[in-house]
């Protein structure tokens, strides 16, 4: 309980601060075309369809969801690697989706990314020194030419690799070490925000823990803000201050980690948490598992109204007609309960038997 109030206190403190990143109604539709010469748009994959959230200085926002929910597209939009169809991404009040040229370059310095696959995200023909030092080519103001080698070695040291390895190639390193190289590259320009897209999911359990520890240490040391995108719910819980749950291009529920994991009110979050295998055989019997039927619908043709309704056990006619808004459920409005956090469900309610051990 003390833990809980501490978490709530942290969230409140965060509320008073100015968010470093504000995402408002972000939309990304990928057009589906037909015909060879006269490409006619016949539809769109609605990968991200109206997402809003804030990121505060020094905090970790976890984003969870299954494959195809649009979480990686969100990462690319935040990095401006994809152009948003509509919506805003405000970095310190400035909309980065509208920027270009020099202004965009300046912002990009402060938002860096760590990728999922340490085997394909590093150029095999470049030495580690060149990989980590490459950001300095684009932003020479960060490290003058003579200083670069020293900076690279410092960065290697910071992420726990031997600084003498600068002349080695990526294939000479293990998966965990490569991910450290990727993190060093992300840190090179002293960014304020790091977007991590499944940074540890390609790693073995024992190595995963090393990388997570490293990321937490770096966050404290450099006051970094993380957007931590992953499908592993227990890792997200471990590292995040707040967590957002995505389903089919929409945010289903968002709140502090304790609110989401212990008091989920959206049926999808409840099902997701109940489906996570718990590493404790004693929990095998007592747990109620919600086994969802069917698969996630195609984002090219999402269901009307609430997108989760086709798999939801609470679905009624209203769910097909009205899109539920992401807001504190009326049931809990004005109440001092951890269930009073934003949830996009017409029938949002706590389900007492679903307490996660994730």
């Amino acid at each position: 309980m003390a833990e809980l109030s501490k978490q709530a206190g942290k969230a409140e403190a965060a509320g008073q601060r100015e968010p470093i990143l504000q995402v408002r109604n972000l939309v990304k539709h990928f057009p589906l075309t037909q015909g060879l010469l006269l490409k006619k748009q016949v539809g769109a994959v609605k990968a991200v369809d109206g997402i809003s959230f804030d990121l505060y200085q020094g905090e970790t926002l976890g984003i969870v969801g299954e494959s195809g929910c649009g979480k990686s597209t969100v990462a690319k939009l935040l990095m401006t690697l994809e152009t948003a169809t509509s919506g805003e991404v405000l970095y310190k009040g400035q909309d980065i989706t509208k920027l270009s040229g020099r202004a965009l370059k300046a912002v990009r310095r402060n938002i860096q990314m760590v990728f999922q696959d340490p085997y394909t995200s590093l150029n095999p023909r470049m030495t580690v020194g060149d990989i980590i030092g490459e950001p300095f080519e684009i932003h020479p103001e960060v490290a003058p030419k003579g200083d670069r080698r020293k900076r690279v070695q410092e960065l290697l040291d910071v992420v726990g690799l031997n600084p003498e390895y600068v002349n080695r190639y990526p294939h000479q390193f293990s998966g965990g070490q490569r991910q450290r190289i990727g993190i060093a590259r992300g840190l090179a320009l002293n960014p304020e925000i790091i977007i991590c897209d499944e940074p540890v999911s390609a790693l073995d359990v024992s190595v995963q823990a090393q990388v997570i520890n490293l990321m937490e240490r770096l966050q404290d040391e450099f006051n970094l803000s993380y957007v931590f995108i992953a499908h592993d719910l227990s890792i997200v819980r471990h590292i995040s201050d707040r967590v957002g749950v995505m389903y089919l291009g929409k945010m289903a529920e968002i709140g502090t980690d304790a609110e989401i994991y212990e008091h989920p009110t959206h049926p999808y979050t409840q099902a997701l948490l109940s489906a996570v295998p718990v590493p404790d055989p004693e929990a095998r019997e007592g747990r109620e598992r919600i086994i969802l039927t069917g698969d996630v619908p195609s984002p090219a043709n999402p269901p009307s109204g609430c997108r989760f309704r086709t798999r939801c056990w609470k679905a009624e006619d209203k769910c097909a007609e009205e899109v539920p808004l992401l807001a504190v459920p009326t049931l809990y409005q004005g109440k001092d309960t951890p269930a009073a956090h934003a949830s996009a469900c017409h029938f949002a309610e706590e389900k007492p038997s679903v307490v996660s051990a994730a």
Binding site: V205, H231, P277
Partner: protein, 338 residues
């Protein structure tokens, strides 16, 4: 430890792997992937083989199934007894008849395990035409039945579809249907749900467990996921660098591991009461299989390592009935955990 187990059990094991050795002869040297693995599975039992990449868990399964890539892989020693018959010395044709009919396998990646240019109905039906000599017409009807068994909606209409037309979860169901088509006694599932999303993983694991109970099969579940193991396994064998380092009934192992590597694995999972603290990571990296450390292969990463660990390879010590640990200091490890 095997003697102890067999004495307490009246039923002989279905599968008994004894001191299996597999190596890969490559240009860069000989990689010793499996170095004396022994395990047994009884009918109706689920044995989880837990290990990280490179621990030899999948290679062991491939050697058991007889689908090892050879060359470069070679079984260099040991026995694989299925109902008392050694599969390794059996003739190719006899072994082929057993495969699929008595022992079958479920792979991790259904998309690459299924034939992309054959409809799923025809692929499933092939099981019956080849092994049971059924006509194509009958086999197709059986295939649809199997698809219904694994709860594929509109099975009859979808039997003519190709693998790419199904979702990941549905493809995995088709592979399960294929593995169980001839009601085998033993199924080896190699990371059957690793490629799937959590909610779909739960569906598929549930289905597999239900069918196992129904057919009373022995199941070898190969995985790296400590959560999945805790959910379904009866017994666990933990592998490291081609060896089994600990075997135990599932409840005992999670309650108190008797090997520092198992303890390390359990410690590296994020837990509720650890929020905000450092995870207990295992330091270092798994060894290269071409250059396994002398003594205990885990000694360079082990917090307990002493001089003896660098020189003497620990055998599997009996810890309790049905439990064994390959650690010189299993007693201390167990005491610390308990």
């Amino acid at each position: 430890m095997h003697e102890a187990q067999e004495a307490t059990d009246t039923a002989a094991p279905l599968l008994d792997v004894r001191d299996l050795h597999v190596e890969f002869r490559t240009r860069d040297g000989v990689a010793k992937a499996v170095n004396g693995v022994s395990y047994s599975v009884r009918a109706g039992e689920t044995l989880a083989v837990l290990g990280e990449s490179g621990s030899g868990k999948s290679v062991t399964a491939q050697a058991v199934m007889g689908i090892l890539d050879s060359p470069p892989g070679h079984v260099t020693g040991g026995e694989v007894l299925f109902r008392g018959q050694d599969l390794l010395t059996m003739g190719g044709e006899t072994r082929r008849r057993l495969r699929g009919a008595k022992i079958s396998m479920i792979f991790q990646d259904a998309l690459s395990a299924l034939n992309p240019v054959m409809s799923v109905g025809a692929q499933l039906g092939e099981m019956f035409t080849v092994h049971d000599g059924m006509t194509r017409r009958d086999s197709l009807a059986k295939a649809v039945q199997m698809m219904e068994r694994v709860r594929i909606p509109a099975a009859k209409e979808r039997a003519g579809d190709y693998p790419h037309q199904f979702s990941g979860g549905m493809r995995q169901r088709i592979m399960i249907a294929m593995a169980l088509a001839l009601e085998p006694d033993l199924v080896i599932a190699d990371e059957p749900t690793t490629a799937l999303d959590v909610t779909v993983q739960a569906q598929v694991m549930d289905l597999l467990a239900e069918l196992q109970r129904e057919y009373h099969m022995g199941l070898v579940l190969i995985t790296h996921d400590l959560g999945v193991v805790a959910d379904v396994a009866d017994r666990i064998a933990v592998m490291y660098a081609g060896r089994i380092v600990e075997t135990a009934p599932v409840h005992d192992l999670y309650a108190a591991p008797a090997h520092p590597y198992t303890a390390g694995l359990l410690g590296s999972i994020p837990r509720l009461d650890h929020k905000g603290k450092e995870l207990h990571a295992i330091k270092g990296l798994p060894p290269s299989l071409t250059d396994i450390p002398a003594g205990c292969p885990f000694n360079p990463r082990c917090p307990r390592a002493q001089a003896i660990c660098r020189t003497d390879r620990p055998p599997l010590f009996d810890v309790a009935p049905g439990r064994a640990s390959a650690c010189h200091f299993w007693k201390e490890t167990l005491d610390d955990a308990g």
